[in-house]
């Protein structure tokens, strides 16, 4: 991975200095040894702090919504999972493709404080669905053998009451910090329904367990058919709630019922077949 990381950083700097891109979107070191924070580099001096290593878990694609509106091109270093998220944003016209130079960066799995990130255990592939240039090697292209839906299946096996207690218990930890929403690339509304006093459902701190359920059900539903399973929601949650379970449940159901969608194409929930099964 060393060589891939070095090559990525070198290439990013090269493109910046050549003037092909105006700014570089990458990571910088955080306070802790395992922490990497998304960072925008606009000068040569700042660019010295650009880092790409096995702790660069954060998904940078969402930043491009705002960055692609600025003058000049932005270079984004995207891992395969990040590139999938960007694909969604491009399909939904949120990011101007012309304004982004996508440097695909090979990845052998990202780590956090507690080791390999959950999302990397069930990595869904090392192909870049969209890129201008990709830098990886054989090591990076290996895909671990994880069962993405193992946790979902385990919960499906539980009884209704057990499931209810599980989610009630997990969601009761929610402090409505909105980190999951803020970091999710699919959750990119200019103004969220939960922040809009006219929507009828605006809320912040939950005054009743119903509101926890409502927020997460609605959020999962709004990204249903669009979520690319990048795993950032669970990673960002300060309370450690396994939010990805809801999204993966929906992905599993949609896959079974209507065919997978993450490769691109129309989201299954804005599509139909006359032969669809009944609810």
């Amino acid at each position: 991975m060393q060589t891939v990381a070095e090559r990525v950083i070198a290439r990013a700097k090269e493109l910046f200095f050549s003037g092909e891109v105006r700014r570089v979107l990458g990571w910088e070191r955080g306070e802790f040894q395992h922490e990497r924070i998304p960072a925008l580099y606009e000068t040569a001096e700042q660019l010295e702090k650009l880092v790409y290593d096995e702790y660069c878990g954060p998904n940078l694609s969402k930043e491009l919504i705002a960055l692609s509106k600025l003058e000049g091109r932005t270079l984004a270093i995207l891992k395969p999972c990040d590139a999938r998220s960007l694909n969604l944003l491009l399909r939904e016209y949120r990011v101007d493709r012309e304004k982004v130079y996508i440097l695909g960066a090979g990845c052998t799995g990202m780590r956090g404080r507690d080791g390999l990130l959950l999302k990397c255990e069930t990595c869904r592939g090392k192909d870049f669905p969209v890129f201008d240039e990709a830098i990886d090697d054989e090591e990076c292209r290996k895909v671990p053998d994880g069962d993405r839906f193992a946790d979902v299946c385990r919960i499906e096996q539980m009884s209704g009451d057990e499931r209810f207690l599980f989610f009630r218990s997990e969601l009761s930890k929610c402090i409505r910090c909105n980190a999951c929403r803020n970091i999710c690339p699919a959750c990119s509304c200019n103004q969220c329904v939960f922040d809009n006093p006219d929507s009828g459902v605006s809320s912040k701190a939950s005054a009743d367990p119903f509101e926890d359920s409502q927020f997460h059900i609605v959020r999962a539903f709004h990204v249903a058919g669009r979520c690319t399973d990048c795993g950032e929601c669970s990673r960002a949650c300060p309370q450690g709630i396994p939010l990805h379970l809801l999204n993966r449940k929906i992905i599993k159901d949609i896959g079974e019922l209507y065919g997978g969608y993450e490769a691109g194409g129309r989201s299954p929930l804005i599509d139909y077949r006359a032969s669809d099964g009944e609810a």
Binding site: Y93, C189, N190, V193, G200, V223, I270
Partner: protein
């Protein structure tokens, strides 16, 4: 400040008998926002409406709720009344306390609280209503009739007579439809061609009618008053401007293996053909699947013998696009396939025929030149058995056939039987029936004449099986009135097969967004009061495509459809539905989810400048074409941010209704 008035209708005793209307009005008086509540016996009456108007004026009401019958009955009535009172007609909501309350619940103690809950919901909704203004859309003064049988022809003639232009699109090479295939028509036994061809000629010569034969509708876009229809004019490989209909090509064509559709496949026709002698337009058509030249490049005889130089092997389909204000579906019917009715030996013996095939045999221009002979050996039959209800009136669990009565078979079988007995008195004719249904004008007399005067033997009972034996067709059936089983050695068996809509009808219905029932008949807007309109505005129904019917009924319905078309085309502008979708610019993300689910293509996107919380920004934003939007609301649910909302059924309104209903618990 909102000032809502609530009017609770007794509807005579329809509501008042099982709902305490005074109590409902009472409960409403203490609802937030309500300044006036009253009950009255007949709100929809002129007096009732006057009371409404007076109350609006006296109390300066900003919105009204009528607790009465279904909005599907009188929403329009009360909207108009509100308008007369000076109130915006969309500040009116109806609480359905009749069909969905008083008629369901017999106990006042149960019906009254429910009526109060429904009234509360309506009040909650109207408090969030905004005044809406209906838009206008233009009307293209041209009608499209799809189907060139007697139904389509009659509708077109009537529309043309009223002074409007109309196109008939017909998928076969000629107009005329099923009626052209008939020999004689009941109950008068006049020659079908003789009464049909003058109408066909009239349609061809009318300056207001354009015939687009050998053509099919490919795509329909738009809405009432403004349909844009794509029509494919299939290649005939014959220049219709030059062809004189002399039929030399037909005589000389060497390819004679194609099944003759006009004769229901009883004989063959050439690859280049004119469907029947009185075809209109009277031009030849080449069936590309049969033509040797088009398939292999060899032959070309028709081109050589054509003195008009009308053959054009290079002709291509032509696709045209036209605008219409109204569309009429007149796609007709066909007999069902009998593959599941093997018990009648239809597939085994050529002497077992359907009634339409028998009609062709009797017809002088048919495959046997009008001679009644057996298709198998050309011999004259002495014993003919007619079997009724083949595939009609089947039980739902039969797994085959249709559940409905095909309506025309009793009459046409009586006709066939009579014609046979009249021309060939030596032929014994028996009709196996379950019931004889001949209710039309002079119909019952017709059938009785067949039985009493012409000696047609009517046997009440069903036929179990038909099989071939020693050159005969053994028919085993019951004679219930004489309580015996019959075994008849017949020479021919005629099956009155059920009729069903033409197969292309369902695809057409989808294109028109017209509803169909489970039998693929077009649905009418109301089974009693609106028989020739589809629930889809601007689409009308004519003929058997709406349900089995005979020629007199078809012509009557065709005229009815025509006047509906004329009523529509005579307007210069149509009032559009104002309950349409609307996108909030400040909330729209530009993601196009809504655009993809709109069935009408009413949503488009463009870059526009907005000022969001003081900041100027150029964004990709959705906009709704209010003339095209039909107000389904699919976009509102596809929109994650809630930018897209539906006027008249807004998110806040529906949630307010939910709150009010659940509050009552």
């Amino acid at each position: 400040m909102q000032k809502i008035g609530v009017f609770v209708c007794w509807c005579g005793t329809n509501i008042a008998a099982t709902v305490d209307v005074a109590a409902v009005a009472d409960a409403m008086r203490s609802e937030p926002g309500v300044v006036y509540a009253a009950d009255y016996q007949y709100m929809c009456s002129e007096v009732g409406q006057q009371r409404l108007i007076a109350a609006v004026r006296e109390h300066a009401l900003t919105g009204v709720v009528i607790c009465a019958c279904s909005p599907r009955m009188h929403e329009q009535t009360f909207r108009r009344a509100a308008e007369r009172a000076g109130l915006n007609p969309y500040m009116v909501e109806i609480a359905n306390i009749r069909e969905q309350c008083s008629w369901i619940h017999k106990d006042k103690a149960v019906g009254t609280p429910k009526a109060i809950a429904l009234a509360r919901a309506a009040v909650a909704k109207v408090l969030k209503n905004a005044p809406l203004t209906a838009g206008e859309s233009p009307v293209a003064k041209r009608a499209l009739v799809i189907g060139g049988g007697i139904a389509g022809i009659q509708t077109a003639l009537d529309v043309a007579e009223a002074g409007y232009e109309v196109d008939i699109v017909e998928k076969s090479p000629t107009i005329g439809g099923r009626m052209a295939q008939l020999d004689k028509t009941f109950p008068t036994l006049d020659c079908s061609a003789c009464i049909l061809t003058p109408k066909m000629v009239e349609a061809a010569q009318s300056p207001n009618i354009e015939l687009l034969t050998y053509s099919e509708v490919e795509k329909v876009a738009g809405f009432v008053g403004n349909f844009t229809v794509t029509i494919r004019k299939k290649a005939r490989y014959v220049d219709t401007n030059r062809c004189t209909g002399c039929a030399e090509c037909v005589a000389k064509c060497p390819a004679r293996k194609g099944k003759n559709e006009f004769n229901m496949g009883l004989d063959n026709r050439s690859a280049i053909y004119i469907p029947f002698a009185q075809a209109i337009p009277n031009v030849a058509t080449i069936d590309a699947s049969q033509c040797i030249k088009l398939r292999t490049g060899k032959c070309g005889i028709c081109e050589k013998v054509c003195s008009a130089g009308a053959i054009d092997y290079n002709q291509r389909d032509e696709v045209i696009e036209r605008r219409y204000g109204a569309i009429v579906a007149a796609t007709g019917f066909r007999p069902i396939s009998l593959e599941k009715f093997g018990e009648y030996a239809y597939q085994e013996s050529p002497d077992v025929v359907t009634s339409l095939e028998f009609e062709r045999i009797l017809n002088a221009a048919g495959p046997t030149k009008g001679q009644l002979v057996r298709p198998s050996d050309g011999k004259h039959p002495h014993e003919i058995v007619f079997i009724q209800c083949v595939g009609s009136r089947c039980s739902e669990d039969a797994g085959k056939g249709k559940t409905y009565c095909s309506k025309i078979c009793c009459m046409y079988t009586a006709k066939h039987a009579m014609l046979v007995r009249e021309k060939y008195p030596d032929v014994r004719v028996r009709v196996f029936y379950i019931d004889v249904r001949t209710p039309g004008k002079n119909f019952d007399e017709f059938y009785r004449r067949a039985a009493e005067q012409y000696g047609v033997e009517y046997v009440k009972g069903m036929v179990g099986k038909v099989w071939r034996q020693n050159g005969k067709l053994m028919v085993q059936g019951s004679d219930l009135l004489n309580d015996e089983q019959l075994l008849i050695p017949a020479d021919m068996v005629v099956l009155a097969a059920a009729i069903e809509p033409e197969p292309g009808a369902r695809a057409l219905a989808t294109m028109l967004t017209a509803s169909m029932d489970t039998n693929d008949f077009f649905s009418e807007a109301h089974p009693k009061l609106r028989p020739v309109e589809s629930p889809t505005a601007g689409v009308f129904l004519s003929g058997a495509c709406q349900g089995p019917k005979d020629i007199p009924e078809t012509v009557a319905q065709a005229g009815a459809a025509a006047i509906k078309v004329v009523g529509l085309l005579s307007k210069d502008r149509l009032v559009t539905n104002p309950c349409v979708a609307h996108s909030n610019e400040l909330l729209c993300n530009g993601c196009s989810q809504c655009e993809k689910v709109c069935p009408y293509g009413a949503i488009t996107y463009s870059e526009r400048e907005v000022v969001d919380r003081g900041v100027k920004d150029v964004r990709r934003l959705a906009s709704v074409n209010e003339a095209v939007c039909r107000g389904c609301g699919a976009c509102t649910v596809a929109c994650p941010s809630g930018a897209m909302d539906l006027k008249g059924f807004a998110n806040r309104q529906i949630m307010a209704e939910v709150d009010a209903i659940c509050r009552a618990k």
